[in-house]
């Protein structure tokens, strides 16, 4: 087997998604002033990457403030167990909350 020239392509920083489907991730717990898309009730909570949303999407948090309009970020559908969000949750332990979150709000667990 010889290496194909195609294997030598080096992607730019940020070009490939940092997380894969199934990765355990944590929503970053930070509270910047202003309107951000990640709801506060999810900040600091852990979940699992359920799907990578393709293609990368405009970072509308930056765009909303007139910064870096057009810049794109990878974007994930993250599944969080309902009982981990609400201590008194009534329902199946398998009930889940799914939400789309930009890469800038996630870290590996």
């Amino acid at each position: 087997m010889t290496d194909s020239i195609l294997d030598k392509v080096v992607p730019a920083l940020g070009e490939l998604p940092r997380f894969a489907v199934g990765d355990e991730v944590q929503v970053i717990k930070r509270f910047p002033v202003g309107h951000y898309r990640v709801p506060q009730y999810l900040r600091g909570h852990a979940g699992r990457v359920e799907r990578i949303i393709e293609p990368a999407a405009v970072d509308n948090e930056e765009e909303g403030y007139g910064r870096n309009a057009g810049g794109k970020l990878h974007y994930y559908r993250v599944a969080l167990p309902m009982p981990s969000l609400w201590p008194d949750y009534l329902g199946s332990p398998r009930d889940e909350l799914h939400i789309e979150i930009y890469e800038s709000w996630l870290e590996k667990k």
Partner: protein, 224 residues
Amino acid sequence: MTNPQDPHAGHDHDHGHEHDHDHAPITADATPGYYEIMEMAVTELMIERGHIGPGEIRRQIEVLDSRTPALGAAVVARAWTDPGFKARLLADGRLACEELGISFYDDTQLIVLENSERVHNLIVCTLCSCYPRPVLGLPPDWYKLKPFRARAVSEPRKVLAEFGTDIPDEVDIVVSDSTAVVRYLVLPLRPAGTEGWSEEELAAIVTRDAMIGVVSVTAEKEAV
């Protein structure tokens, strides 16, 4: 008691049609509010500076008016009757809808969530009112109100029960909080007893609320 000028005089309101208006003349004499004045000012400035014309505003209103839950119902009925289309719809909701001529004028993506015997999907936007407008039109008022938005993500089974939808414990609930670029549409379970129905007959029983996930589709119910 009777007024000869009133065409409805001389009878009560038990006259065979739904009545939720009060016969008052429709006028627009209320003082415009802060946001109405701001909207008018921005519109006038945009037109004055040549960024948009009145025709473009009218056209966009036409675009919005052309989007109703009947479009979503047609998508669901097609998915129920055409397995190839269903596969494409679940793989890329926007692309499959575009195949039927439904354009995504707001440049959102669409993820279609399939209900099954094991999973029931519910859609909410806790931030405001993200909604699959290209396929469903404008959201219902309750969808935008804080009680629904807050409770759908914290006690979905109770909220569903209030809509008359009891989800057994062995069926998992997945609540999708739609907050950014992606919109969601629920593909409801096709009800038993609809075998052999045409796409049009099927579309007629698919309601807006079923595509948000607050109710199921039943073979008896007329579309709302």
